[in-house]
Symmetry: C2
Subunit: 207 residues, 2 copies
């Protein structure tokens, strides 16, 4: 802990984190180089090492930052909803808006799902807060008898995955199918679809 760290150091550290998030999003953990991050910040490689001793440490800081922000963003939205289904919608909307606003985070999480490599010891070291958010919202709906008995992880893997795919796939579907995930009309359609799916997931097979 550098207790007397100067504000200027904090500014540099933040600039490194932001540049690193873009680099990790663009090329993935394995191909990312500290040199590329340094160049993007306009400093030299040894200056990065002053703040983050290794690529792993830098990656960890990026992932921790993403999930901390996602959790805070989600909790702020959840405070505005009290009934069970509106809370589920608030959480799904929070995820969608967060990823649309920060596509680099979406791509890092998308990779994390495929990739045991940079998080081998404990894949949920940082993502656990997001998993707990959806578990809490789903489990309280089930406990209140408002939702069918659905697994939060199955909901995550279907409706919850939508925000990541919607953002990450925008440039990956070919020239004639490209879309802008931040386009208001495109986003409104996708949001309405997710809401419909969420309703079907938690209410759908009640007889």
């Amino acid at each position: 802990m550098k207790l007397n760290r100067k504000p200027r150091g904090e500014v540099t550290r933040q600039a490194i984190l932001e540049a690193a998030e873009l680099v990790f999003a663009e090329v993935g953990y394995a191909a990312a180089r500290l040199e590329d991050v340094a160049e993007a910040v306009g400093i030299r490689r040894p200056s990065i090492v002053y703040y983050f001793s290794s690529k792993q440490e830098l990656y960890d800081a990026v992932e921790a930052d993403i999930f901390a922000d996602l959790h805070a963003f989600s909790q702020a939205r959840l405070k505005q909803a009290d009934a069970c289904f509106p809370r589920l919608i608030a959480l799904l909307d929070a995820w969608l808006d967060f990823h649309v606003g920060r596509p680099s985070a979406a791509r890092i999480i998308q990779r994390l799902v495929a990739d045991v490599t940079p998080r081998q010891g404990n894949p949920v070291q940082y993502s656990n807060s997001a998993l707990k958010d959806i578990e809490a919202v789903v489990n309280e709906g089930v406990a209140a008898g408002q939702f069918v008995d659905i697994s939060p992880i199955q909901l995550l893997n279907s409706v919850g995955a939508g925000a990541l795919f919607y953002v990450c796939n925008a440039g990956q579907v070919g020239e004639n199918r490209r879309y802008d995930p931040a386009d208001p009309a495109e986003l409104a359609r996708f949001r309405a679809l997710l809401h419909r799916l969420a309703a079907a997931a938690v209410r759908g097979d009640r007889r």
Copy 2:
């Protein structure tokens, strides 16, 4: 084209492809090394180069193989269904069963969505067949007035993404939430959920 390629050569080529799929799935394109593939097959690196002149060429062959098999598997299932909604279900079931049976393919596609790197020139060079499959099924349902007017890509990014997340996330959600995607009860629950979501997606907001 090696027109007189010996069957034994074909066997080796296939063994290289299978080993490479596992390596690319495990560590991604950037971190994958031809040496690791060679070791898994039990041959030396130069023997791989005889079949695939570079890592890019080997990766291309793996991706081409995955999407060719996925397309053939999907088409075989689609032949068994004729009405619009059963055809959508047949396609989603085909994707789910394909990925459950071949998780390495799921992880490679999951990465492809995040990753412009190994397919920079044309991200849909091989995946286009899968995109066309879902476009055909969705568009025919819309044209027949059986489905609401939904974008095939939005359906892909929500309900269609489920199979990939379900398979890839199995070991990424933490010790206490791990599941076996091939477990019959787990799979049956997820399949039923996808069917419910598909119905809501294409029929949901008809008034």
